[in-house]
Structures are given as C-alpha cells and as structure tokens.
Symmetry: C2
Subunit: 476 residues, 2 copies
Amino acid sequence: MLLSRPDVPRPSVAARDKARRLLEASLGPSKVLVERDACERFVRDESEAEGVIPDAVVLASSTDDIQKALGAAREAEVPITPRAGGTGRTGGAVPVGGGIVLAISGTNQLKDVDLREGIAVVEPGLILKSLHDAVEREGWFYPPDPNSLSSCCLGGNVAENAGGPRAFKYGVTRDYVLGMTALLIGGQRLQVGRRTLKGVTGYDVTALLVGSEGTLAVFGDITLKLIRKPESVTTLLALFPDVRASTRCVAEMTSAGVTARCIEFFDGSTLNAMRAAGNPIDARAGSLLLIEVDGSARDCEVAAERVGMACEAAQALEVLVAQDAGQRERLWAARREMSHAVRKLTRRKLSEDVVVPRQCIATLLERVAASCEKHRVRSLTYGHAGDGNLHVNFLWDTDDEMPGVDLAIGDLFREVVALGGTLSGEHGIGVLKAPYLPLEQSPELIALQKDLKRLFDPSGLLNPGKIFPGGAHQAC
Amino acid sequence: MLLSRPDVPRPSVAARDKARRLLEASLGPSKVLVERDACERFVRDESEAEGVIPDAVVLASSTDDIQKALGAAREAEVPITPRAGGTGRTGGAVPVGGGIVLAISGTNQLKDVDLREGIAVVEPGLILKSLHDAVEREGWFYPPDPNSLSSCCLGGNVAENAGGPRAFKYGVTRDYVLGMTALLIGGQRLQVGRRTLKGVTGYDVTALLVGSEGTLAVFGDITLKLIRKPESVTTLLALFPDVRASTRCVAEMTSAGVTARCIEFFDGSTLNAMRAAGNPIDARAGSLLLIEVDGSARDCEVAAERVGMACEAAQALEVLVAQDAGQRERLWAARREMSHAVRKLTRRKLSEDVVVPRQCIATLLERVAASCEKHRVRSLTYGHAGDGNLHVNFLWDTDDEMPGVDLAIGDLFREVVALGGTLSGEHGIGVLKAPYLPLEQSPELIALQKDLKRLFDPSGLLNPGKIFPGGAHQAC
C-alpha cells in the first residue's frame, strides 16, 4: 500500500496534443513548458509520492492564466494538477496521471493590506514569509506558520489548510480565510466568501474549499484576516527524562491555565537525530519541549513562571529561557532544521502527521514503539503537543524494509483512530494517506464527499487520485 | 417583497395523514403534537416571518427521535422544519409550507466536558447559557454570545453560525465547532469532523453544515472547542456627540493596537429609545459605545487607558469605567433589553443584520438616514462596531407604512453591497432575506449552493423556502 500510485489513467496521445495546442494558443508558448526535461522538475513535491511526468506545465502569472489552463484541461479532457510551492508532504501537487501541471507560484503579488480593517488580499503564489514580513512590520500578525514558511505559498496553505506551531493558540489557515476567487475546472470564476470579518450569507463555500487539496477549485485572489501582533514573546526550552514526563508537563500547563502559543515536542529518537546533527543536548534527556508564550511583557513573565512551575511538577531536568532574539532564533533554527537533520540519518522517510487527544500522546508513542520493534522499523516523533498533532517519521534505507514500514504505518493509523484521533492535522490526505481514509471515515461520509467532488468536477480532471481511495469517481 | 411568504406548496392531505401515522408509530403519541392549537405555538420564531400552522410537531428528546422524524418526513414526503430555541430573526425555524416541525429543545444534555482537552460535547437543545455557566465555573470559556443566550440553543447557534458582541475578538460559532453527528433527511446518521483540536482529513463537511440554517442536516451531538476564560474584564461606556465621532473612536482603537473583546455601538435614535425606556442618558449624546477589554488585570488596565485615549481623540463627551460587577451588569442589561425597548416604541419592527467594513459604518448610516427620510420610515441602529456588524431596525405601526419599509430595506442592502459588505453577519438569510440574496451573490454561486442543497436533500423536504429566492429547487 505504501507509496503505491493511484490508478489514474493517462490521457490519450490525442488528448495530450490537444491540451498542448490549446494551452499554447491561449497562454502563448512562454508560459507553457512541454519539453520532457523541463516538465520533469514538476513531477514531485516534498513527499515520497510518485508521479507521472506531466505532458505540459503552465507557468501562470495571473488569475486569467489559471482560468485559461483550467479551460484547456476541460476542453481537452486531460487531468490538471495545481501546484503552489511544491512543499506538500502527502503528494497533493504530484501529477499522478500526467497531464497538465498548473504552477501558480508566479502569481505572487500582495495586492492589498488594509490595516483599518485588518485584512490582506494575496495572490495564491505569494510566499507565506513575504506576508508575515509585510504585516509584522506594521504591527499586525498572520499566525499560520508551517515549517516551510520561507518557500510555501498561500494558495497551497489554503488548499491544505496549513497549520504550524502557532496553530495551538491561533488556529489554522481556515480561521483566517474570509473569501477568495475560486476557479473551477473549465475556467469558471466564482467569488466566494466576503471581505468583512463577519458574514453568514448562504452556505460557507469558502470553508468547504479551504483544505480541499486542490480537488474542488484552484484559487485566485485570497482575502485573509489579520490580527494584532502580540507585543512580546518568551521562548523556553525544557528537557525531560522521557515522553511521559514531557507530556505530563503539557497537562500541567493546561491545568495551570497557560495557553502557550506553541508547545513543540521532541521524543528521544528525535533528540538523538539532533545530537547526530551536531546539537549538544544533555545526554540524560529523553524528550524536549520548546514552549512559547506571548502577549504583553507582563503576560509573558507570568506565563513563563507558570510554565516553569509546570516543568518542575513534571520533573524537568532543565529549563532554559531564551534571553534575547538571537537565543530564541537558535532554539527555533534547530526545530526548523529537524526535517533535514532526519533526512541525513536515512535514505528515505515518511513523515506522518496524525492528531490524538493531547492526553494520549505518550500512549500513542508507546504503541508506535511496540509496532516499530515488531516490524523492525526505525521511527522518531516530533510535533505540536498542545493540539496533539504529531509528526511520526518512519525511516528506511532499502526497499526490503518497505513492507515493515507499510505495516507500521497501518498500525499507527489504527491506533490513532482507536484513541479518538485523526489521520492528518495539517499535511492533508493527498496520495499517501488516501488508502487509509476508510479507517477514520464511514463509507457514507466518503460517498458524500465524492458526491461533493463530482458536483465541482464532474469529469474528475482536477487533481485526480487525491484524498479518496480508488479515486473520487469510483465506487467505494 | 417584505414579509412575503415563499411559495412552498403544502403537502397533500394524504401525505399529512401518512406523516402523522408514521410519527406516532415510531415515536409514540406523547412526542407528537397534532392538535391545531398545540401546533400553532410552533408557527413563528422571533422574526416577522409568517408560516403555515404545522400538521405535526415532534418533541424530540434524543438523536434517535430526530432520526425517526427525518425518516417519517422522507417516507411521507412532507416538509420538515427543525426548530431549536425559536429565537431566530430571519424565520429559519418557521414552517413556511406546514408539514412537520421538529422541535429539538428537549435534547438538552451537556454530555461531556473534557477540560484536559478543552472540549465540550452538547446535545443540540442545550441552552447556550447553561454551557457558559458550566464551563466558566471551571475557568474555561465558550465565547459566542448572541443576545438571546438565555433562551437560544446550541443546535440553533450552529445552524445559524451565531455570533454576538464577543465575536469581534473571539470569532463566531463556526470557530468553535469541531465535529458533530449530522442527521440527514431520511434519517441517515453521519459522524463528521473530529474531537481533536486540529484535523484536515477530507473535506470540511462540518464547516459546510455550520450556518446552513437547517437546510442540509439536523444536528445531534455537537463537539465544541473551549478556550481559557480571560482572567479579567473591564467595561467602559463612552458617549459621543454623533456617529462620526463614535466610529472615529473605533478607528482610533484599531490604530492604537487595542483588540477590544467587544465594541457595542448605538446610534442617536437608539439612545432616544433607551431614554424612552427610562435610561437617563446625557441629552448631548448622539451615539454611544460600550467597550470591553479582557486579559490579565494589567492588560485590562493598559487597554482601558488606550481606549480612554482613543475616546478623547474622537472627542467623547464622557467616558465611564464600570467599577464593579454590578455596574458592569447594569451597562449590559441596557444592551440586552434593547430589542425589547425598541419593541415598546412600535407595533412591528424588522431588525436587519448587515455587515460593512468598519470604516464605512458612518457612511452607511448616513445613506440609511437619507433613504428612510425619502420613504418616511423610522429606523434605529445598534450593533457590533468592531466587525462592522450592524442591526438596522426598521419600525412601523400600520400596514400602509410597509411599502416604504420595503423600499428602505432594498436601499439598505444595495448600499451594504456597494460598500463591500454582506447581507447578514449572524442572523442568517432565512425567509426574510432570501429575496435579496442575488444582490450580493452571483447567479453561478447561488446555482452552486442549490446544487449542494440538492445533494443533501434531493426532494427539498428539509426546511424548504429558506436562503434561496424562489426555493432551492427552482431555477434562479
């Protein structure tokens, strides 16, 4: 099941030729790549999902370009796969049936920042960090902060409903999307949602599109809500003997009424990976929390004190408080580099992205450890402990390890669902988790979602092979 | 157009008889009202919308009862209108085609409060204030606070995506619904969403159902997110010479970086209504703001000081700070009684619920005043200034005033849309605003929403006549 490519048929030669002709005629040759070598660069994202080299790649630089590409795909009846930053972890941007890749990273304008209303309007290809920088300079804040913030695009963030460490306090992308231009297969343009902070007119089509993984619509301009930037932030790092102790600290913080803005969690194997990457971490530590509180300077003082007490109650080995921005940045740099540090340990890895009730984190990790031992698989886990969102990484070097990894992943998802959790907190289902969807959702709910998909995309041309096991247009 | 009842056909006598028989057989006679006098009590909500006396009323006390009622409606092919607290302002719970009213206020258990996870599970008939009281005792907080909080039910709140004053800082009902049991026409039960704080598995069907006004599904158990209760609250009341000054104060607060938890706004006519109801308000005042800030005690001090400076910059006549809980409660009591105070001035009223960018509030009200003068209509406006959500009340006594009111409402909605606003911030579209939907939304977006409606309810039996002009099952 692992890394299997969904059975999405390739378009016929005639259809591919027609698509290329239509694209070149409507967009001009400079925006359409058709050479195999050029197209090959668009076959992967940052997951292990495997694609088919696309027949054409559209380099869109405007909403009009996106419309034209969606029109050509419909007319030629070839699949079209939208792609923003290409930083996805479940294969959402991977063209599993070839066809057209619609690359929107050239639509990258910050079109409007209205600070009287606390609203920003962005093109879908804008890099998240550009938005952060632009609004933070003015004392405003756009909280979502996936690890890939320097390279991911807001259109992809909206498609995947991206989260990040700060989601624990501030919510995920969905909580900040007020409205958008939605571009449907065929090129139809729909204005959905609103520009005001509140609004309940009609069904919340905007909310349905957020997190739909590029399978219902492609986005043009997106209207986002901003909030005020917290005045101060305090960052703490706490070392614990083991996962039971660090997760007890999370519970102690909850009891003490601390709403940290993030609580980043690392298990013992992750600490070993960090040590291997050159970070001198106390050898006694079997788990670590990186905790941030924010608010007024006085709020931070009070909260940091309570965090310190929670750490003590949970028998922390050591608690460090970053004394300045430089120290703070160094603590975070280690977190951001984690994924790359892990990559150095292994030829291949899969980072799962499950969520369990936060009181079940230690239990889940014990069960994962038992499963990995049984199947002889290496794993390590880090993630966002506040909302129970864990990135369980499975590591392997050679193909003969893959059956074990496959079994361990199945065990993980079953345990997650048994503990009342969900398969994905912020990476989406994409290609890689589609086979597991029925573990969590009933056949009736999956059937309803396939009906929704067909309503937006009757021919199944928009990002086929994603979310649904066996494809959206086949029976369960 | 005003108060016109949508053209929803009544079921045939045979269908009504069949529905009653099926309901009595599956639910037992004690849960099914069929006497005309008993049924008549369910023909209205707190709006001016007119209904048809239902043929039967189901007094559901469990999810099973809801399922059985939805099953009977489908089998007998009669319309069914869900009803929670009956406090809606746009006729969402009004049976416009007769048939069955499904009253769910008997399903009123607070089933679970898990403070380790910050989650509550409620039955849909639970009164909102019961949830507030239960969680606030434990130091937790469920922010949505519509004015009807002592009588409205959470199921209705979710159906309408209720807001309230605190929505400015804390968001609306949608921001707190994690998952639910959805009961479809026919009685099919679907578990949607999740119990964890984060989750992006599949389409966000939960978000689509929130705010769907009882037209897509009826809710069983609802899982809600809780947050920590702010430690302190400070309430201020500021008087201004006119609306330009009070709305300038709102802008000054934004510039000063104050995120008040609410900014309640009253125009001059509203102050006159308050004076007529016995509130001794300074005669110089032509507008009033009731402002609340929350956080730590120190945060409140700092924020209150900034609010005071913003008031001064906007040339407030007077600023009062509530010195204790009693004073605070008295300030709010006047706000909560507003709707009733207005009712004393007039035989009939319609409270519209529009949203405009907050910088456009004064402009909108000037245009409303001009329109009302032209059409000889009385109006007054209060609302939530932070998010630009205004309750524009039109008042009249005799039927011959209605054509003028009708014209003034049309003018209002056109101006709102022209200013970049939306028809409804928290009351929904229901019956009363359905004719105006095309002012804001394109034919294509309305057609898409009707397709969504048909997907959930192919025969159009669930709460017909709501949201869509001409009904969901007719062409635009």
